[in-house]
Symmetry: C5
Subunit: 296 residues, 5 copies
């Protein structure tokens, strides 16, 4: 891929692997700082933008694949000079989509404009991811109110984890955009400022949306908890009503089951009717009391 | 609508559709930045205010309709120059109410004053929406204390969602007002400053109110949860008292139902009275113990 | 009241009604900004302090009456010039207490010093209100630990609502004090600075106290919730112990109530003693197991 | 005490009572601001540090006595000039410990150095109090995990209240230290700066510790709540297992207690063995189902 | 150890004990501030970085040993001058790992570069600790969803305590890095700035990770609580269904156990079949009602 891209623009070096010796050559040629080369090669760096003497160094993170409740980020390292652009992608990540728009415009634009195109593509991919989350959370809210189950709970927390992850990247994106505006020095032409400010604005809006989604998720979790509490309450009521219905009958039948003398109606022909009637009546009285005194 | 409004003031261009070619003509005529035109045409932009070289660009959001527990916002895009005003409304939203005051004053005022009148109308519509929420929350608080039900829970969270939405718009409004004061450059006359500061003050007060409403809603949710916990506790007590009343009778009647010899009072004529008396007495003792030792 | 006060100091205009035409006369005479006049006449404005060209405009809120769990605020509008003072009170609020100290000093002091006296009186009234809340919260904490009831819950949330309200006013008071120090321009003599700084300090301390009270209230609510959880747990234990005591007896008496042949001790003269002894023993064993394995 | 201390250093005035007329004399002599004198005499002031023209005014709060779960603060008022030091202590508080180190160094040091010694002693007393809290919280955490009781809950919230109190004082101490560094003007020699910065650093560390303790307390409270929830769950399980064991036996013995014809095994000599065997078997089946389908 | 290290670089003084008199000698020789010497000798100081006239003073904290759910920190005190480096380690802590990289580079580098190497090693040890926490939290999340037990709860809170501790140290590290950049004065060459900025960046990323882990832990705790609530709900349902199954049978068999006349089917040969059929039927009806009306 490096070569085909290099064909489009003489000064665009698109590396596929931060560990390739080509990067060392470029570091020598363009006086790239050794710490930046280390950053490219170490794993797990923060998204950031730093101005060096004659270039800007950026670590960007793009969303690679959105699976249910989980996202994974790919790293893209950029050195943006006045006359050159070096892009280095994670060897085990696809990055073509994010670079596509820049590749199309590649031959005719300055490195800084290409940087804008790449950042704008990345920001767009975040919007897609957030829309996706939004839909999922809507579904979850419906299912929580209908029937709270441990499975919905699990996907609820998967979404939460995803948002925590996304928020962290976006905060860094926002800070990087801010420091780009401050430190860009000679690399960014003033006429490009509104474009980078636009990216900054979009990162703010993304953060906004993530916060809103987090609030909605917390709402959904609260609804979940109160639904479970409600249902326990409901189950307890059913148990209590069942007991209320059964207990008077059990007590009375227990009494008439005793081998004692002198129980009333024992010898009466209507004994059964009278005693069963008494059971029904006492059950009715207890139910009426529960209702009357608002005990349930 | 564009034409009738244009009739009132020669330099007010009131477009009904951001996608109309008229906007491109105006963009050419007044040197509007391509990113701002894009903003008008893209969906889902943040409320904001930006100063360009010779005009101010604003995206405003007005409340279109307040339905129970849900609000929807319409976008209004404005280009405010020294000598011209371009307003572009969402094609599928009514915006006449928000523009009414400006239309009335249209022929005689400067664009910046018209901008103030429009912003003031929008802020007023927010106050109406907040008063509406306030009433709803009062109702909810009453119904939660009387009888907590899943339905009240649902409208509680609808209100919460609404406030999350509103808060987000208001934070942006506040920031836009602040950047208006900073970036207005040559567009706003100093004598208009107090007016825009007034809008800023109102946006602060609106945010204040939203925060207070959020606090109150959280209170209401806490009351809900504790009411459910209380009720479960209450139901458990009823069940326990019922069991307490029934169990001694059941045990004693069970014993006297056994086919064994040697049970006391079996042959006594007052057996029934004595045994039933024992049931009542033991039930009384258990109830007295529950009360005495504060077990319930 | 306007006239009697006006008699004390020629340049103090004490109006009882913001809608009186007198205010318009004064606005003309002292060049008061139309937005400030509007503020006086509109309802529901935020407490604030603003510096205009030749006067300070303040909206103050004083506590009118402290009823159990609820407070209501009265508005006081002030225009403080170098040589004049205009105070306008809510027509349906008593404000004499707040103005008393200023009235006493009225003839001899400058408008800015009178402003200080009024603000100091208002701040004092807040202290009284907070002390009142403090006592109420102490009572609530005691009653929550003794016996958590829905009534204590309700007054708990009433106190919370009151503090939310008070906090909001105090935040604005603090900001107003701060902007007074910044914008007072020619109106406040430097020798008055320590006095206004004192008011600012008091507003900080009040906010401090409100935060502490809020923390204490949240504590109290947490105690409430855990008390209810504890009591439910307690009730469950009682129910379980009751069942434990009764079930073995019920099972054994049930078995001996069956019309079957071959039950042991059926014919024994000590059958009853043996079987009842077995009941007591098995109940004892179950209770011992509950205790031994820490199941309750 | 005033006199003995005054003996050590001619210009150290150590008053025991802010209401003594001596303070008025000193106010006249050293031109102390009337608001500062008021502060000394009013109750309930915030800890603070203020620079006046020719002296520093400080209100310090030292811990008087640490009782279980409660602390009380004593006030110490200081006027620190270039050549004089006035210390005024709460009449009903012991303050000797806090002043001891300063008294020892008294004759040889400047007022500002004495101020440092006093502040350092006060900060040390806070460290003791925090260590004390730390131990208590450790104990509470152990007892909550072992056996959550309302008593541990109560001391948990006592600790929380204590930390709220302490945090409030420490925030003010930090702010006072900061304003000392800013406003000390001519009173503090530059060579004393590192010493006051040290006090500031210690106040930061104390706040740090209070925050950590608060986090730990909140943890402990969460453990408490989940322990209670766990125990309720446990009690419910015991009750359910008890019912499971008893109910099949009760149903079967109930059936065999009916006065009906045609029950199987009624006449069998092994009827009892068969029926009791059926009871045990059905109980076993239900228990096996509970376990098998993970219903408990 | 002091001597062997001293052998590598003439001006590196590596002390093993802050209480050794050697430190006093060095303090005299290099004019170290007495407060810094005190800091070295006192226990329990905050991690910090301070610039003195001719040196930088740092207190660093490195992770000594990571045991399950608990970490302990060792202190390292550094005086970094233009031409000398003094490192003082806690006498009862191993610190060799942290110093290793600096020892290797020792002979050839400036003190400030050695400081960077030490700080970088310390930061690396934090990353290891955080990865360790990450794995533990993943395990906990799995076990909470599978089977919430008090033991998982306990390790959950152990992890929380650990993160509270770590966060506190990292906040101080970040602040120390920031003040290093500000106050380093003549000690740090400008070409070292990117290196210290790198350490600062890493401390930010570490804080980021700790925040994310805390969020995840809180999630896990919420899952725990809702799992327990779910299980209690589940247990209640089982109990209610058991009661539902048993109660109709008990009531009917109780009725047929009474010694009354006139019960239907008493004399019928199919009495048993009919009555037991009625038991099964009524149980079925109650179960159907529970299901039909969504009572469980």
């Amino acid at each position: 891929m490096s070569h085909s891209l290099a064909g489009i623009l003489l000064t665009w070096y698109a590396l596929d692997d931060p560990n390739s010796p080509e990067l060392d050559d470029l570091a020598g040629k363009f006086q790239l700082h050794s710490l930046h080369i280390e950053d490219c090669r170490s794993n797990n760096e923060r998204l950031k933008a730093e101005g060096a003497e004659n270039y800007l160094f950026l670590i960007l993170k793009y969303i690679q694949a959105v699976q249910d409740g989980d996202i994974s980020f790919g790293n893209l390292f950029l050195f943006v000079g006045k006359e050159f652009l070096i892009t280095i992608r994670d060897p085990n990540c696809e990055s073509s989509e994010v670079l596509q728009r820049a590749v199309k415009a590649g031959g005719e634009e300055k490195p800084a404009k290409l940087l804008y195109l790449i950042m704008d593509s990345i920001v767009d991919s975040y919007f897609v991811s957030i829309d996706h989350s939004d839909d999922r959370i809507d579904d979850l809210q419906d299912s929580v109110l209908d029937r709270p189950s441990p499975e919905t709970l699990e996907s609820l927390f998967d979404q939460k984890r995803k948002l925590i992850e996304l928020r962290r990247v976006l905060v860094n994106l926002r800070d990087a955009c801010m420091s780009l505006q401050r430190e860009s020095g000679a690399i960014l032409d003033p006429e490009l400022y509104p474009f980078f400010r636009d990216v900054y604005d979009h990162s703010l809006r993304l953060l906004d949306s993530v916060e809103t989604l987090r609030d909605l998720l917390n709402n959904t979790f609260d609804v979940y908890l109160s639904s479970v509490a409600n249902r326990t309450n409901q189950v307890m009521k059913v148990l209590t009503v069942l007991s209320t219905v059964a207990l008077p009958a059990l007590v009375i039948s227990g009494i008439y089951g005793m081998n004692l003398k002198g129980l009333p109606f024992l010898e009466s022909d209507h004994g059964t009717e009278i005693v069963v009637g008494a059971m029904v009546a006492s059950t009715g009285v207890v139910l009426w009391m529960l209702k009357q005194f608002d005990w349930l």
